[in-house]
């Protein structure tokens, strides 16, 4: 049975999923650095500086994609009673709240990073008295990190919780999205740091190690995801442009960065930048493939 009514989740959606993933991954990177690394660091501040603006872009993309964008607030507030609108069993409802809460937390970290870099000060909130670096900042960072990973996951969960073959054949899309978000978030931070050229090489080395581990985790999840889709589910990904995108994601986002990593990355900022850029391109291609593949075939599960 072929689905005839298209969902029309096109470029706005896979671009949003990519941008939100990078934002979430960057913030999660900062949290991991603060919790497990050497506390606050220039690298963590760079991550905070990109997370909030990217989430604003993602929220705008999501809103524009609605057929009635002026009603975006109906996802948060019941339009007739003005009571909160929340369905914990609906991933898109959960996601709507995450897309509100995570940028709110990321905004504070963003301002804190600007203050730390002496762009401005707000009263007693000065470059030498920032939030991050204090126990309260650590708690704030952990809350933001958890929200970031939830933002990364929800859009993948949302795809699984449908009745479109290829998406609903698997419960692994959310897990895959978390891995992609984490690795592209680190890649975005690495790219900026490499272009700035002022980063402690030891910090870069730590990020490279983390990115390498996450590439392997992402590729493992991608293989398991494809292998467990079943024949019909797999077929929608292995034709047309999604197939090309998957091959591109594996090559550009997996194999080439690993080859670079174990040969030249970290040696010079340019190779580190190339390593990071490849991961970002691969992450984008993976988002494209996952979103567009099932919309080619539009199979209805349970068709027998």
């Amino acid at each position: 049975v072929i689905r005839e009514n298209p969902v029309h989740w096109d470029w706005l959606i896979y671009l949003e999923m990519f941008v939100a993933g990078v934002a979430a991954g960057a913030y999660a990177t900062a949290t991991l650095l603060e919790v497990f690394g050497r506390g606050r660091s220039p690298v963590a501040r760079t991550a905070h500086l990109i997370a909030f603006p990217l989430m604003v872009v993602a929220a705008i993309l999501l809103t524009v994609d609605l057929n009635r964008p002026e009603r975006f607030w109906h996802m948060l507030v019941q339009s007739k009673t003005l009571l909160p609108m929340f369905k914990p069993w609906s991933p898109i409802s959960v996601g709507s709240w995450l897309v509100l809460l995570f940028p709110a937390v990321a905004f504070v970290s963003f301002v804190d990073a600007l203050i730390a870099r002496r762009v401005f000060a707000l009263g007693g909130w000065r470059w030498d008295r920032t939030l991050h670096g204090t126990p309260l900042g650590l708690i704030w960072s952990i809350i933001g990190g958890v929200l970031a990973l939830a933002v990364a996951a929800y859009s993948g969960v949302l795809l699984s919780v449908t009745n479109i073959g290829g998406w609903s054949n698997s419960s692994l899309i959310g897990a895959l999205y978390v891995a992609t978000a984490a690795v592209t978030g680190i890649a975005a931070v690495l790219l900026i740091e490499a272009l700035r050229g002022r980063t402690d090489p030891a910090d870069v080395a730590g990020l490279l190690r983390a990115a390498t581990g996450l590439i392997l985790w992402q590729m493992l999840l991608l293989v398991v995801f494809l292998a467990t889709l079943g024949r019909d589910g797999l077929a929608v990904f292995l034709t047309g442009s999604p197939l090309v995108a998957i091959i591109g994601a594996v090559l550009l986002g997996g194999i080439l960065p690993l080859v670079l990593r174990f040969t030249r990355a970290g040696v010079r900022p340019s190779t580190t930048a190339l390593f990071a850029a490849l991961i970002l391109v691969g992450g984008f291609l993976l988002r494209y493939a996952v979103v567009m593949g099932p919309q080619q075939g539009h199979l209805i599960p349970g068709a027998g």
Binding site: H8, W9, L32, L66, K80, A303
Partner: protein, 305 residues
């Protein structure tokens, strides 16, 4: 609840609901009475459908559905069926299942007036993030056009491919089982218009009994008839069908599922993946911390790069 038509205009207020007996012309049985709070629906006997599409016309007319093609004829080119499918502007659709031999000397036509199934366990209602999709006091499933913001999640969630965006309103739309008519005790427009009683409207309990009797009658005549949409299917379809061939032949899924079957495993696996990300962070950044302890950084280095 305030009522709005498909263009988002508020309908005039309705009189107090009376428990009216309703008579549907063409009904083979006695007049059907139904009351507010009682589950009602459609029993569509496909063996009686003659493909006249009067139900489609009645639906479009009552619900003021637009001729999206600007009034011009749009031919499917593949079939004698030119309204093609259920979508945002076709809330009833008479499917023509045209079975021809290659030389077209022999033919068999199956006709089925398809519609939203008003599932007791409705996938669209589960996922709708705005509360636009509601279950009414008649146990039907209705999309409130003035609440929907067109996120299209319900389109992806429906196992029957029923919902689509109505271009006139920018909101997702489908059959309301004529909620506005039900509120004043009227039969839905399609059932009212059906000239052969293929579409029968009434309380679900009574319709099920009628359907079982019809199946027994047809099976007694040697026809392979069965009910599609009994209580085992998504808790029961409030618009159910008598079919004489496999569900797939009619374009229906044999085993429709709720999208929520993937909610818990998806979140759990995502949490597992997040834990692995955290573990990788621990292993890689912890090493960095150890190095930092061995080689202390210069004062102020971490404050301003």
């Amino acid at each position: 609840m305030k009522l709005f038509n498909v263009l988002g205009q508020q309908q005039p207020s309705q009189p107090q609901f009376p428990p009216l007996p309703v008579t549907a012309p063409g009904m083979p049985s006695a007049p059907i009475a139904f009351q507010r709070g009682e589950a009602v629906g459609f029993f569509t006997d496909t063996t009686l459908c003659i493909g006249c599409k009067a139900c489609e016309v009645a639906c479009n007319e009552w619900n003021q559905l637009p001729a999206w093609n600007g009034g011009a004829n749009t031919l499917s080119g593949l079939s004698y069926d030119n309204t093609r499918r259920l979508d945002g502007t076709h809330w009833r659709h008479v499917k023509f299942v045209e079975q021809f031999t290659p030389d077209r000397r022999q033919q068999n036509w199956l006709l089925m007036s398809d519609v939203c199934k008003h599932c007791v366990q409705a996938g669209c209602l589960e996922v709708c993030p705005t509360g636009a999709i509601i279950r009414t006091e008649f146990d039907t499933v209705v999309i409130q056009s003035d609440v929907c913001n067109g996120c299209r999640e319900c389109i992806a969630a429906c196992p029957f491919d029923v919902i689509e965006i109505n271009p006139s309103t920018g909101s997702a739309q489908k059959c309301t089982l004529c909620y506005d008519r039900l509120q004043v005790g009227l039969t839905p427009a399609c059932a009212q218009a059906c000239p052969t009683a293929s579409i029968q409207f009434g309380p679900i309990r009574e319709l099920r009994q009628r359907a079982d009797a019809r199946v027994a009658q047809l099976q007694g005549q040697g026809t392979q008839a069965y009910i599609y949409g009994d209580e085992k299917m998504l808790g029961g379809l409030n618009a159910f069908f008598l079919l004489t061939d496999k569900a797939e032949v009619y374009g229906l899924p044999a085993d429709p599922k709720l999208p929520s079957r993937n909610v818990v495993p998806s979140w759990l696996l995502s949490a597992g993946s997040a834990a692995v990300v955290g573990l990788i962070g621990l292993l890689t950044f912890r090493k960095r911390r150890m190095e930092g302890l061995v080689t202390p950084r210069a004062a102020g280095e971490e404050v301003e790069p």
